[in-house]
């Protein structure tokens, strides 16, 4: 477990980190999220003991990073290696620096490259590899010493979709093995599906921290997406059914819009979900799918970071139908089912909080 407690760091006049705190549990993929310049890399560098914090403390299982015996694997944001040395030489070198014996370093080099489907580069010089493949090698180096703690700074930047999914697979596997995985990113859609816990940093401050699923569940569950066999609105070829539904539900409905073969309904309250179902039944509409649409990570991110910063706790995502559509946009609908099944697993931990 890594605990970052009240860390503050200034660079001259600029405050890079401002009383930042978060906890990373073992066996969990932890996402450190934020816009460019939010302080993610500074935070990671302080954890890695590259920079010293002006105040605050970082501990690994209760002791300082320096005292901790746990091995750390690190993928820096500024990544590069020796251009004129072979992959094997460099990987064995870093492995040995990280405490492996010569044989173990050679063995791990081969194993990591195999996992990353990069065995053919073993005896190639780094400068003969493409940028994406160099990045793979960097990742292999981060994992060379079988680390207990894996810290990846912007691991997805520069990777093509195939390699990105390979990386995700590796991160998931490491987390499943009970390792502590921290990674930073500013691309929310890319990390959403495999972050367990997150910390959202904005201007050096933590604006949101906790279990992602819980965070999502903490949002009002009043936006419903339902699908019918025949597109709901198109069934009569007019706007009729939408208006009919609006009339039936009256004040309980805030907004309604069609999307593909379904409809997105924003209710005044989550308690009106039953009323919506009954209204559909009365209209002889049998939904094929009927689910609460949770906010995507991107939407949460924009709300926390891109929107007004001073929102009171527990406020509804939107009172305005239009902006609601923007924030809880349609683009993320595809992921809804996945989120639903994750939520269905019944995570009851209440760490997820809004701030």
């Amino acid at each position: 477990m890594i605990e970052v407690s009240n860390v503050t760091k200034n660079f001259g006049e600029t405050r890079a980190l401002d009383d930042l705190s978060f906890t990373v549990k073992d066996g969990v993929a932890f996402g450190l999220l934020g816009r460019n310049g939010a302080g993610k890399t500074t935070c990671i560098r302080i954890v890695m003991d590259i920079f010293k914090a002006d105040s605050g403390r970082i501990s690994v299982d209760g002791v300082s990073v320096r005292e901790s015996k746990r091995r750390i694997g690190y993928l820096p944001e500024e990544r590069g290696l020796y251009q004129k040395r072979t992959i094997q030489e460099q990987m064995v070198y870093i492995g040995r620096l990280r405490g492996l014996s010569a044989q173990a370093a050679v063995k791990n080099t081969k194993d990591r490259l195999e996992e990353l489907e990069a065995t053919e580069y073993l005896n190639k010089k780094l400068d003969t590899l493409s940028k994406g493949n160099q990045q793979k090698i960097q990742l292999a180096i981060a994992l060379i010493s079988d680390p207990d703690i894996i810290i990846l700074d912007e691991p997805f930047s520069g990777l093509d979709p195939v390699n990105a999914s390979l990386l995700k697979e590796i991160v998931r596997k490491q987390a499943r093995m009970g390792k502590t995985v921290i990674f930073s990113s500013h691309q929310m859609s890319q990390v959403e599906e495999f972050c367990d816990d997150i910390c959202l940093i904005h201007k050096g401050k933590s604006v949101l921290e906790g279990n992602l699923a819980k965070i999502k569940r903490s949002y009002p569950r009043n936006t419903i997406y339902f699908e019918t066999e025949i597109p709901f609105a198109a069934a009569t070829g007019s706007d009729g059914p939408l208006s009919a539904l609006r009339t039936k539900l009256g004040d309980a409905i805030k907004d309604i819009a069609e999307y593909k073969s379904g409809c997105l309904v924003t209710l005044a309250s989550a308690n009106d979900r039953g009323a919506l179902l009954r209204a559909l039944d009365e209209m002889d509409v049998v939904p094929e799918t009927f689910a609460v649409k949770e906010p995507t990570l991107e939407e949460i991110f924009i709300e926390k970071v891109g929107g007004a910063p001073e929102k009171p706790e527990g406020e509804q995502p939107s009172d305005d139908g239009k902006s609601g559509k923007r924030r809880f946009g349609l683009s993320a609908l595809g992921r809804n089912a996945g989120e639903k099944s994750r939520n269905a697993k019944g995570r009851t931990d209440e760490r997820g909080r809004r701030s």
């Binding site: 890695m48 590259i50 820096p76 500024e78 590069g80 251009q83 040395r85 070198y93 620096l97 960097q138």
Partner: protein, 419 residues
């Protein structure tokens, strides 16, 4: 220590596997071998091309009576013998020597003047003219003395001949056993080797540090090992590469000189005596290595620290100017000092760390300083190495994570005093 060993061997192997390094070593060895065979090559060239084309010289024979007694001692045959770089011809005094030279007909022209004087005409750029006049002076002086003695009455002639034949030979006996002339060769070798190492391998250290910064390998490295370990490993790695290269060069030079020693002795007896009179004792070898290594480390740590303050190799030259100026100053002062090894300023500088590897070793090897003085100087040097490695490690630690513009002197100083 294990970390430093790992870094050292990685750096060292990097040089051994580096094509440029290997090619440079081979070229250096080839140059050394060729240089050591210089007398042999010189005589080979002479035997192929035959004796070099001789210059043309004109002896202007003055009409009988004038020209003094010098004219009587020289004719074309004698001149062809004593000044055989020239093909001598003679002509009457109607020839104007200046015209003969300007027309390019002759390279030099000799005209006797009044009394014991003569004039050698030639073009200013004719280098051999200046040694020719020396040879002619020697001959004419001798000839004039002999002819003067000949003209003396017979009863004093023998005495005069005896007086002329007197030669005095002194002998030096060094009370402390030292010999300022004997280890000239060794002192110069140290001087040149150290200078070469400081300029060349200092660049290696800088290039290696800047390379790790510019390729952005540094962040990964400093999270895998402590900056001070990285710095030591690198400096040692470059040092090992330097020693390997130097050892090969020294072996090549020694082998070359041994093989060609006879030719050296024949053609350059002074240089040959220099090699032979090198008086190597075990103590001297140990001091040589100690001064050499301490000198290398002192400068290498400074280079490493300064290298860490820039991010691009283009900026490196700006920060290396200062240490290079010190190296060049130390080198020049030492060169001058070696000919005046007992001067007060030389003694003072031989205790100052940046200069002592150059100067104290010269004083020791030439017998001007004893072991005790050398040990004091070496201790001061070693203390400076420790101090500078400590300061350099601090600058390095801060410097390696600074990207963008090179650090200003103020920032470097701040980094050096930080806790």
């Amino acid at each position: 220590m294990k970390q430093i060993g790992t870094i050292l061997s990685f750096e060292y192997m990097g040089y051994l596997k580096n094509k440029t390094f290997r090619v440079a070593t081979v070229i250096l060895i080839a140059v050394i071998l060729i240089a050591s065979a210089f007398p042999r090559i010189n005589s080979a060239v002479q035997s192929i091309s035959g004796p070099g084309e001789k210059g043309k010289a004109l002896l202007i024979a003055t009409s009988a009576g004038s020209g003094g007694s010098l004219a009587a001692t020289a004719d074309v045959d004698i001149l062809n013998e004593i000044a055989d770089d020239y093909e001598w011809e003679t002509d009457t005094d109607s020839t104007d020597p200046k015209v003969a030279i300007e027309d390019g007909e002759y390279d030099v022209a000799l005209v006797f003047g009044e009394g014991m004087t003569y004039k050698l005409y030639g073009l200013g750029h004719n280098f051999s003219m200046y040694s020719l006049v020396g040879a002619l002076d020697a001959y004419f002086t001798e000839a004039a003395r002999v002819s003067a003695i000949q003209s003396l009455p017979s009863e004093v002639r023998t005495g005069a001949e005896q007086a002329l034949a007197i030669v005095v030979n002194g002998e030096i006996e060094s009370v402390d056993g030292g010999d300022a002339t004997s280890n000239y060769f060794l002192s110069y070798l140290m001087l040149y080797l150290l200078f070469m190492v400081m300029v060349m391998y200092g660049q290696f250290v800088i290039a290696s540090v800047v390379n790790e910064k510019s390729t952005k390998a540094m962040e990964l490295l400093i999270t895998s090992a402590k900056p001070v370990q990285l710095m030591f490993g690198k400096v040692l790695g470059v040092g090992c590469a330097a020693l390997t290269q130097l050892l090969l060069i020294i072996i090549a030079a020694a082998a070359g000189l041994l093989i060609n020693f006879q030719s050296w002795k024949e053609q350059f007896p002074d240089a040959a005596t220099g090699f032979v009179s090198t008086n190597l004792s075990a103590g001297l070898v140990i001091f040589f290595l100690a001064f050499f290594l301490c000198g290398y480390f002192l400068y290498a740590f400074i280079y490493a620290a300064l290298g860490s303050t820039v991010s691009k190799i283009e900026d490196a030259s700006a920060v290396t100017t200062l240490p290079q100026l010190i190296v060049i100053a130390a080198f020049i002062v030492s060169m001058i000092g070696m000919t005046n090894i007992d001067m007060a300023y030389v003694k003072v500088l031989s205790y100052i760390p940046f200069f002592s590897p150059f100067i104290m070793f010269a004083r020791l090897s030439m017998g001007e300083a004893g072991y005790l003085q050398s040990i004091i100087s070496l201790a001061l040097l070693a203390a400076a190495v420790v101090l500078f490695s400590w300061v350099a490690a601090k600058i390095y630690r801060i410097g390696v994570m600074m990207y963008g513009k090179p650090m200003r002197l103020k920032d470097i100083a701040k980094a050096a005093v930080q806790r």
